[in-house]
Symmetry: C2
Subunit: 362 residues, 2 copies
Amino acid sequence: MERKSEKNEAKGKGGNKPSLPEKPEAFLQEESVPNFSLLPKTVKRRVYALKRLQLQSANIEAKFYDEVHELERKYATLYNPIFDKRREIVSGAIEPTDEECEWQSARGDEELAEDLQKKAALEEKQADSAAAVDPKGIPEFWLTIFKHVDVLSEMLQEHDEPILKHLQDITVKFSEPGQPMSFTLEFLFEPNSYFSNTVLTKVYKMKSEPDAADPFSFEGPEIVDCDGCKIDWHKGKDVTVRVIKKKQKHKGRGTIRMVTKEISQDSFFNFFNPVKATPDGVDEDLDFTLATDFETGHYFRERIIPRAVLYFTGEALEDDESFEEEDLEEGEEEDLDEEGEEEDEGDDGPMTDPPPAECKQQ
Amino acid sequence: MERKSEKNEAKGKGGNKPSLPEKPEAFLQEESVPNFSLLPKTVKRRVYALKRLQLQSANIEAKFYDEVHELERKYATLYNPIFDKRREIVSGAIEPTDEECEWQSARGDEELAEDLQKKAALEEKQADSAAAVDPKGIPEFWLTIFKHVDVLSEMLQEHDEPILKHLQDITVKFSEPGQPMSFTLEFLFEPNSYFSNTVLTKVYKMKSEPDAADPFSFEGPEIVDCDGCKIDWHKGKDVTVRVIKKKQKHKGRGTIRMVTKEISQDSFFNFFNPVKATPDGVDEDLDFTLATDFETGHYFRERIIPRAVLYFTGEALEDDESFEEEDLEEGEEEDLDEEGEEEDEGDDGPMTDPPPAECKQQ
């Protein structure tokens, strides 16, 4: 399948997939397998021997992932100078040189048809005059990414937007060798009127060895827990709560007074106050929320942080999203039709755009 | 999400994802992105600077994957003694010791209720007497796997089954360092009456660096091509063709003669005679077939070879398949209902069984 979005989740970087803390029945009893019980005893015991060998494999696999994690730590030091420079350009701390800004498709503009050129020039002029002063860096860089990426825009509330305009960078830090495996997302904010923190953190703890009770489900490190941080909101600025006024009647005297009460409300900033897993998964609703949180943490780490600019421009968005936003130029549709002529009538679906192997994350 | 089948494809082993040779428009022009053209010129050039940095990241990423591939080669030597032993047990070359066959759930049998014990004992007795003689090794080990795994059972034809009973092992070999990245699947057969080969091979060639024309689509090594092998079928045994007889009339003389003609037919063994990619993807039907082949090769390498016994017993089958085959014990359904009581009415789907993040491969 071309352009598999499946690949997006399979970057091989240690396979650090999010998972819920507890798994239902992943470890099927072979007795439940059709015909297993019909095997002669002698064959069954050979199968058990193979299963013992499989346990050895799982333990070797765990060591493999430890080494991949070490590799990731090593490569993080290679990526960091690039990410530092990105942050400085985004914040306006440094202005890139002309050479650093040279880009193929910017040069390609000259090849555009004359009328398109004029249109582009006009738009550019309008844009320039709209920004009366030259803006600093790339304004709303991270907020724009939040708006472009479904999984984030679903968490984003209107009251979050002015705060996220102050978000300067998101980074990932890996646990030190010898420590339990984890990674920390750091959200760096410029000084703002909402809270006094300059960095908000979210730690994702991972489990990187086969579970004794369920060794065959091991597929590499999994996120098993996470911790947020305390946000020191300035008075009246906490967007994760809403203040409501309530009449309260004194039982004895019958007098009425007004009391204020804080109730929680939706906000991206609830991301820093995650729910906790319930023992034995008694609360499925809660566990589902947590699983979604793990997905989001994984997505920040694997996709958004490493290639933020592509989410800003939209180039990294999932196929289906990109297709929606992409306007075909006139004439292009006819070309596509010509290609379509070769198709059988009897095929079981369009060949051009097979469904992505991975369902869209929510 | 728990028990994500997504994880199945994301083992981190170099992210060697299958892909079609050519990609349509994965490299979106930022001009097609909403509002990009409205950005002031100064901001646009900073975005271009970030994109140049992103190219540097992609090149570092390619080196990361090279190192992961080296790790895989290193670990292959650790897995090989285990796989060798598996092959010897499957073929009956060695008989595992009692200690090597000790398995928890085999011991757990004693805890089964008495009537279930009796039933199991009876079934075992029947099975033992059915196998009049003690079978060698684990009969039809690989054929059973082919039948259990959807992606393989779809290729499997009735005429393939007697041949696959002779399949003794499937192994994967990685390319040597310094060579273009590839892996070779080897299918080892015991001597049989169908063909003279003792091993059938399929080589998958990979591309492990960013494409100059489309660097941002790089996600790690991808399968880009494959080669099969010639099968030396014994006379009349080639199941990939069907012989038909046809009447042929001589144009001049009007005499009629019978000619035989071979036409191709469905068979798993067509796997060793793959189609070739068409330049520029002119034949979408063909390219779709090829993409499916790449998926299959990837699946053999990443899933079936490393954990064959779990596909034999069924434990490694995808969630939905396992669920179909799993019979709930009486009373269990009621327990599930009780848990369901906590659910809101207004939720947007069942919480118990979120859809797997990855759609089932075909």
